[in-house]
Symmetry: C2
Subunit: 388 residues, 2 copies
Amino acid sequence: MTSMAVTNIGELVTNDPAAGHGRLGVLPDAALIVDDGRVAWVGANALAPAADTVLDAQGGAVLPGFVDSHTHLVFAGDRAAEFAARMAGERYTGGGIATTVAATRAAPDEELRATVERLRREALRQGTTTVEIKSGYGLTVPDEARMLRIAFEASPETTYLGAHVVPAEYADRPDDYVALVCGAMLDAAVPYARWVDVFCERGAFDADQARAVLAAGVAAGLAPRVHANQLGPGPGVRLAVELGAASADHCTHLSNADVALLAGSSTVATLLPGGEFSTRSPYPDARRLLDAGVTVALATDCNPGSSYTSSMPLCVALAVREMRMTPAEAVWAATAGGAQALRRTDIGHLGIGARADVLLLDAPSHLHLAYRPGVPLIRHVLHNGVLT
Amino acid sequence: MTSMAVTNIGELVTNDPAAGHGRLGVLPDAALIVDDGRVAWVGANALAPAADTVLDAQGGAVLPGFVDSHTHLVFAGDRAAEFAARMAGERYTGGGIATTVAATRAAPDEELRATVERLRREALRQGTTTVEIKSGYGLTVPDEARMLRIAFEASPETTYLGAHVVPAEYADRPDDYVALVCGAMLDAAVPYARWVDVFCERGAFDADQARAVLAAGVAAGLAPRVHANQLGPGPGVRLAVELGAASADHCTHLSNADVALLAGSSTVATLLPGGEFSTRSPYPDARRLLDAGVTVALATDCNPGSSYTSSMPLCVALAVREMRMTPAEAVWAATAGGAQALRRTDIGHLGIGARADVLLLDAPSHLHLAYRPGVPLIRHVLHNGVLT
């Protein structure tokens, strides 16, 4: 494999505090050498060693690729009409998530695969070089396994979310559904999943049910993460910390005790402002979490119901506008934060040895991701060292 | 010039109510023929006549190009640090607009021209096929003329905004500055300007000063438009309607009388949600305006201080999320509304004879512009009938 020099970098965000300039480890007037898909050297542009090929950053900012640690990319159908009705304040009787479950079950593999591929490429163009993908619109043994198999073709970061909602056919016997999720459905999911997740919320799964699902997943070799405290207060964050989950996702309705638990744990709080944007809901209080010392990640929650965006730059801009994160905190959360939420040390930074997932911006600074909302600023993406 | 057929359009937004399906005049399963830079035919895909070339819309939505009727693209420098300080709630002492005035005066023509061209292309990629450009960072006779000359190279929709702020050198004699704006500066601007504009606001220009500037511009052959009621209540809207201005821009702080005046006039209310997004300010109440019968346009206000976005799709998404416009109202406002704010009948719609400014979306419906915030959905742009 040939080596590549990325030269004339106006601002290199390494996410290595040892590099200086705060938590983002910003190096001015820098260069970066990629070799064999890894970062082989970073330093002053004037001192850059030779490489086989050169990519001129033209004074622009260079960042680690975004790590989108929470998506639901495997689905069929479209809920644009539901979105429009919600925005108009109208009551919508179209079925919500059940619509997507029905459409997903009915879709052939090829259709699901094409949707994942379309959205993965769309995300990659916007700088997302790692994407986590959940199941959860199948809710039968074969459909959950099928979703995870298709997701696993696109990403190693796959999450078994059989416990997304109780499907209609189990409405009057939810514990039987939990038993299925912990039994035959889990067995079918395990070959294609790294993570186990549960929607722990009033109207979905309670603390005991969620604990059972996560414990079964852990016993089967999966690592836990939790949809927690999105729609109201509840036991989700507590459970996530208790089980050492990599991430508690959403975190909109937190008690002081929840915040303290997160701050004292290795569980990342993953915030998903695309969801609040597209449902006109109150945003989580990122400032409170950061000030308490909680590690925060940003992700898109990309799904056809509540957040049909694949744009990590939009999430950065919303985090700054709506959640009072600084641009530096938001960029860190969208890169290193996402990596930590996936317990990955090879991505989310540009230290020596990191995977060469590298974004070249059409802008001189990471600040522009929030300063220039909506503008496609990603000029080039290196994924595993390869120009995409 | 060869003709082109755009075929297999899943949803054609014509903005011609006679076409059916509401104000957007949506045709399903449609085709469109472009000839000599104009729309020559629209109708059912199955009935489309032959053309020299074919562009397959693959079932996607097709819209008129966005008309961005309010920008400040001629400037030098960058105010990212000011933005970051504002978002952090810190007091910023860097100079604000005076920073941009100083940088713009110091910049050579080539630098200003390159910035306009970069932003115009960036906007075009996001679907903006018509862009209005204001002066207002020169504030001397030669610099205002220079800004307009450079703007006029990029767009015929140029606006003389010598009355943007009173420059520091006139701080203690603002009426002398108004006399200059109405005199020698206007004379120098007229060859390159179509419009005259004034920032009528406490701290900028009062009603008498604004009326003087607009009247002088009209006497010199320019057509009026007004920055009105952005930061607080004031006489801007009243003045705009009194003078028959094409547009009153911002319209955040309106009395009931202001709304009634707009509703009874041919003056468009141009809303600029990018500004509220990037300054964390309250959004104007679009619903109130629409319900009163006011014609509403959306524009970016693209400028390096308060709204450094060139993204009309972001403005559409913000209009729906934050200003309670329906997706259809927002798309109309970003196309036909902008055209009306520029008193243009050849753009903003896709009726027969319209300029062939056409967007092909990577999405089946105009709803997706709001439903998929931040996602670059513009697959192809025809500008004057030419694929860009």
